[in-house]
Symmetry: C2
Subunit: 135 residues, 2 copies
């Protein structure tokens, strides 16, 4: 079995509240981390909530990065969904952890889209998924 | 312990390939399903990949809905992240399942942002999270 995608779900607890409530900083940190991973950014959108909190999405050619922050709980939920072998999603996680100053982080990695492939074959990924299998 | 958010990760296998490759249909189906759940849509962005596939994000006041489709594998990965008690994320899952004509769907629900609360108290959620606890 091979997976089309891998997804990292990260719980950032005990973060810097001010950072988590600053939409401009959150946007800059996510974009920097995403670029550092080698991902290709297609679009991004960030929103500030009243009275607290930020939500943001970065669509990448290799899938997405999403964040929701609760500064009042010093907490941010982040999802990093990637496909292909060319980028390392953990680089994004490390970048965010450092800049959020999280003192308590937990993360899990899941496989998404599991398919049986013949021996010696691989699944192909967006954006290079022209053929069903790589022969 | 109480959770700030709940997240449903859905694997839609054996879908209608043509639907999965039609960015306009995917956008309409996701927005309809999201509205049906009672969520408040803040922004949305959908992209068509060449030669196949669609990625899309719907930011809602209650968090987000994200999709990535691989029509060449008849597969779509969907994340539904919600907070608060007012909306039912499973309504979105059901709506998508029906319109993607998925003959093989699996889903799991996770809790995000776990906090200890005193008895009789509840966590408050965006966008109504003005106070730390609901007394």
């Amino acid at each position: 079995m091979e997976a089309l995608g891998r997804q990292i779900l990260v719980e950032f607890y005990e973060c810097n509240d001010e950072v988590l409530n600053d939409v401009a900083q959150i946007e800059a940190i996510l974009l920097e981390g995403t670029r550092a991973s080698g991902a290709s950014i297609i679009s991004h959108k960030f929103h500030k909530f009243s009275p607290h909190g930020v939500s943001g999405m970065v669509v990448i050619a290799e899938s997405h990065v999403a964040i929701h922050t609760w500064p009042e709980y010093s907490y941010a939920a982040v999802d990093i969904f990637t496909c292909g072998d060319t980028i390392d999603p953990w680089i994004i996680q490390e970048h965010l952890k450092e800049h959020f100053e999280s003192r308590n982080t937990s993360a899990m990695e899941l496989k998404r889209g599991m398919f049986k492939v013949a021996e010696g074959q691989k699944l192909l990924f967006k954006p290079e998924n022209a053929a069903k299998f790589n022969n």
